[in-house]
Amino acid sequence: MTDHQPALKLLVVEDEAMVAMLVEDALTLHGHAVVGVADTLAMAIEIADRENPDLALCDVKLALGDDGVAVAHALAERGIPSIFLSGTCPEAESHALIIGCVAKPFHNASLGDAVNAAYAITRGETPARLPAMLTLY
């Protein structure tokens, strides 16, 4: 793990298989563990309840017409923080556990920094590095 960052359990919520694989690979390379990939609200909740991830990365547009914003809120209600990972970032979010958004296309190398920064913020810490690609709410 670089910069002594903790290895996190992460949930990826993404409906496009190739993008999900790319995100999973990038996060794994950064030393994190992807505990599941979901592409619907129901699947995300099921994995979250089972795995209790430290953080979720949510696309906004999901399979079967589901909405990543609703997923982020459902996860937040369970105490699980999230960041969006989307081509169209929501402009604002009111829930304290919905930290921010990384706009696609993203840079693989910075994705780990964005995850670490978001996790630090949820713990009330100051991020060691706040990448420009992460827009905070």
Binding site: D15, E16, A17, M18, M21, D39, L64, G65
Partner: protein
């Protein structure tokens, strides 16, 4: 013939037709012109032409609001350098500027004998009565519309009522034209942006193909295969997105056209043996299908192409791939794409059948 030379029209001109009836008919004509109008300035010109004979009008001016000033948009009965002198007005300046500021109708009477300084310009035109109306839509001031006469020192109560209604119609028509112009501008901007995005997407994919291809070219031949496979996949992706650049409904891709393009461009070693009328796919679904078919046909020699038979309905798409064995241990990419598509692969005697449910969201 100048308005002054026109005969005064009164109820006695047309037996059986009262002044209010003529005003109603005139209002109907005004409304008809306003509904059909396409240009704000021409529209007011036409309305003035319609009304001036009935009301014996000599002059009109029409200002629109531009920031904190009024700009003369249309006028009639002015000559020489007179329009230039009143080309712009500050709020509160002269009669129209005052009307714009107060948003109240102003009826100026006996102008020639008045020493009111705000009447100076209309007095210089020889006018003796003048009415200026604010053009409002809701709380928004759009401009002013005014009419003047030399031959009498005031407008009658009926005339004032008529002009107030006509000006209200003009305000509505101007608002409509303004909204239409904003919509047109918005659509043009959207078209330009769309064109730029299409160009950028095409370019970015082409650059990606070039970058990966260049990296592959620098490697030893044994290490080139994965990168050339990546190049192939990027090209498959480009083919799936191609319909977006044309005139097809936004975001929808025809399945038969997609398979035909993949075959035609030799992106997959296949022939299209049977087509069917199928519901179009969303572009992300089409891209996943194209990548999946490409993945399933990896390793098939070009001289023994797979025969693809398309079938299905509005609810399901079936691709029978003849001449290829169903792989029971699908690759990670194939598994991911199958999950995304909610698809299933079943073995057939002569190949495999890929079944995809159609999402109707």
């Amino acid at each position: 013939m100048s308005p002054n030379e026109l005969p005064d029209r009164s109820a006695s001109d047309e037996p059986g037709t009262s002044v209010p009836q003529r005003y109603l008919r005139l209002l109907a004509d005004v409304a008809e012109r306003l509904l059909a109008a396409a240009d704000p300035a021409d529209m007011v010109d036409e309305i003035f032409d319609l009304m001036r004979r009935e009301l014996r009008l000599d002059v009109f001016t029409n200002y629109r609001v531009a920031g904190d000033r009024l700009v003369l948009e249309a006028h009639g009965g002015l000559t020489g350098d007179q329009p230039a002198k009143i080309g712009t007005l500050a709020m509160g300046e002269a009669i129209c500027g005052t009307v714009a500021q107060t948003r109240q109708i102003h009826h100026a009477i006996s102008i020639r004998t008045s020493d009111d300084p705000t009447y100076a310009f209309v007095r210089s035109l020889g006018l003796d009565s003048y009415i200026c109306t604010p053009l409002m839509h809701g709380d928004a001031l759009l401009g002013t519309l005014s009419f003047g006469r030399r031959w009498t020192n005031r407008f009658s109560a009926d005339e004032l009522r008529f002009l107030r209604v006509a000006c209200h119609y003009v305000a509505l028509a101007k608002y409509r034209l303004r909204v239409e112009a904003a919509l047109r501008d918005g659509m043009e901007a959207r078209e330009r942006l769309l064109g730029e995005l299409k160009h950028r997407v095409r370019n970015a994919l082409q650059v990606a193909v070039g970058l990966v291809g260049a990296e592959a070219g620098d490697l030893a031949s044994a290490a080139q295969a994965p990168l050339y496979r990546a190049v192939d996949r990027l090209q498959v992706l480009a083919i799936a997105h191609r319909p977006l650049y044309g005139d097809q409904p936004a975001g929808l891709v025809d399945v038969t056209g997609l398979i035909e393009a993949l075959v035609e461009d030799r992106a997959i070693p296949a022939v299209l043996a049977e087509t069917a009328a199928l519901a179009p796919l969303r572009v992300e679904t089409a891209a996943a299908l194209a990548l999946l078919v490409h993945t399933l046909t990896l390793g098939v020699p070009p001289h023994r192409p797979v025969a693809i038979h398309l079938a299905g309905s509005q609810d399901v798409v079936r691709l029978r791939l003849v001449g290829i064995a169903a792989n029971t241990e699908a690759s990670r990419i194939a598994r991911g794409l199958l999950h995304q598509l909610r698809g299933t692969i079943t073995p057939a005697t002569d190949g495999m059948i890929l079944t995809l449910p159609m999402a109707h969201d």
